[in-house]
Symmetry: C2
DNA sequence: CTTACGGAGGAAAACGTATTCCTAGAAAGG
DNA sequence: CCTTTCTAGGAATACGTTTTCCTCCGTAAG
């Protein structure tokens, strides 16, 4: 592994050229496969580069090319549960194109957002991904930045800027179809606060599927509350009281499902024999820690990030997209709906 | 908010100079408060810059300065529970110095690590933070990179490169002291696999404090197992069987504590009245979701990141540090040891 | 009136790379 | 032998800054 000494400056193309006995321009051409050069010369330059451990200075290259091969990801989620997979997916798709990522966490403070935005612009990022922890529309980060922007797990209220969202309604539908396929017929749906768009969408998808199957579960039967285990514990008792014969409960989050699971065990109700349970998020520590482990809807957030990155790459190459695009969810089956599984 | 049109190139200092009717050099001096200039000229340049929404191109500046005001953070943790706070803290400390962060997730694959390392080096980062998900020593990322490196939440086996670690032993001691102060006298300690250095350190701290208080809890009494809720559930039964009169259990992670809590409730044991419970990690969704909520040791990972950043800044300014530095933990008291709290 | 000095700002170099244009030499054709 | 045509590689420019050095002008001192 060729490497510069600890205190030596890194080799530049000038050093390579000197060692190979050619001019700077020739060295550049040799390394990039451009121009007309003898094969022998190309090899000589390549050898010199290898010997010196030369790697081109991306800054200098960017200065010339007018772009930096860099994008910024701004999240309001404190790198939390939702942003992380999105960023991972985005980084994955961008990294393949040799693009690096500046990650910025605004902690949901507008002042920090402005500050990070300035920083990214003065670093001349080629594009921007704005990620959120809720899918609710947010104020646009700026319509005239001179840089393409894609929203992921959130959307802009001010325009038709491109946004990538998980298909929450589809997720609700998936849960419903799975429970129906198991032969369940009497349902409960416990979820987060009604003001959350995601909660409403999941509920709508669930209700639509029910209606499609000719079952009487309607929007009025949805129990809106909090995104917490405590609410899950409380709501489970409520469901057991108000819905005799209930044999399946769909929860708007894994945490709620954990709470429900707790209560059911305490009151001697078996999962999944008596009641099948489906969560949402497929959040490993939650679903695997539960007993039995939780069947859950996965939003495929990495895909959301990957798709957002693809749209951004398109926009960077002057083929911008517009409006909302959704990414399908998938259902992961575990013990809480299928006795066979762990 | 001054901004360039959507398709306009961003303003350069050349534009600013032209608008202000001065030379490029003068404009630069005016904006940076250098040289001898009339106040009126300074103002004129500042006004022009404001009007054009000028922000200096950090790349160009960096090219000249020989540094990029950029550092790389490489993690093996898939941006997981441990790395995230560390990175947040690091970003915090570095952002104040106008330094931006490239975050890279190796997914624990050596090949990816090499690839990211090459990328960061060709981007000429000023320094590198290597973060891990375990504190175990790992192979050095490279001793002759020509760039300062600091390890956070991990350490290098090949040298005395600086490393910042949480004080796991101190955390174990904190837990012990808290339980002793509550008057508890008969203890259990359930933790992860013995091969984990962190598990052994926490246990050692706990045992030392016990010995200091003259209690007979020794290294032999530690129950090593898995970092899972399932192990917590299992081990709790074991402790109840083998340690009659036990009135306090210290767990090596919050997940284990959740499992213990579950079992205790099922067998009709009250927390904290009969048994006080202390977890480790202070991981919000776990400690707050539990019933009662969990007292837990917080490793202050953001501080670990912050301190790592400070050491890196020192190294960048040619005052490198060496060896392992620890950051103290803190205990957060909640319902599982104190009936008053929720 | 001449010289020295100080203030204000301009000119130019430098950072590392890619690219465009140009030149020198060789080969080929007349 | 002279001219044309390639070919291989060199020279120069540009990218956007910062900084060093230099020049010009006005004023004060001798």
């Amino acid at each position: 592994m060729p490497a510069p000494g600890p205190n030596l400056k890194r080799a530049t193309i000038r050093d390579v050229a000197a060692l190979a006995g050619v001019s700077i321009g020739t060295a550049s051409k040799a390394l990039n496969g451009q121009g007309k050069l003898r094969a022998e010369t190309r090899d000589r330059v390549a050898a010199a580069a290898r010997e010196l451990g030369f790697a081109p200075n991306v800054l200098a290259r960017g200065l010339l090319a007018g772009r930096t091969f860099t994008v910024g990801v701004i999240t309001t989620d404190s790198f939390g549960r939702f942003s992380i997979p999105v960023m991972l997916g985005a980084e994955d798709a961008l990294g393949a194109g040799q693009i690096s990522v500046f990650m910025c966490d605004t902690r949901d403070e507008p002042e920090r957002e402005r500050q990070y935005l300035d920083m990214l612009l003065s670093r001349r990022v080629d594009g921007l991904i704005v990620a959120g922890r809720r899918i609710e529309p947010r104020p646009s980060i700026g319509l005239t930045l001179g840089v393409p922007v894609v929203y992921a797990m959130t959307q802009s209220m001010d325009s038709d800027e491109p946004a990538i969202l998980p298909d929450d309604a589809g997720g609700g539908r998936l849960a419903a179809e799975h429970l129906l396929a198991l032969g369940r017929r009497r349902f409960g749906h416990i979820t987060g606060p009604e003001r959350f768009l995601a909660a409403r969408k999941r509920a709508r998808g669930f209700c639509d599927a029910m209606a499609g199957a000719g079952l009487p579960f309607t929007a009025n039967d949805v129990l809106y509350g909090e995104w917490s285990e405590a609410w899950g514990r409380e709501a489970a008792r409520l469901v057991m009281r108000t819905t005799p014969g209930v044999d399946a409960i769909f929860c708007g989050s894994d945490q709620i499902a954990r709470g429900v699971s707790d209560t059911l065990r305490l009151i001697g109700c078996r999962v999944p024999e008596d009641i099948a349970l489906v969560g949402f998020d497929n959040w490993s520590p939650m679903v695997l820690g539960a007993d039995p482990s939780l069947t859950s809807v996965d939003m495929c957030l990495e895909d959301v990030g990957r798709v957002a990155a693809q749209h951004l790459l398109l926009a960077i190459s002057k083929e911008p997209t517009h409006g909302v695009h959704t990414v399908p969810c998938r259902l992961v089956t575990r013990g809480s709906t299928s006795p066979g599984t762990s």
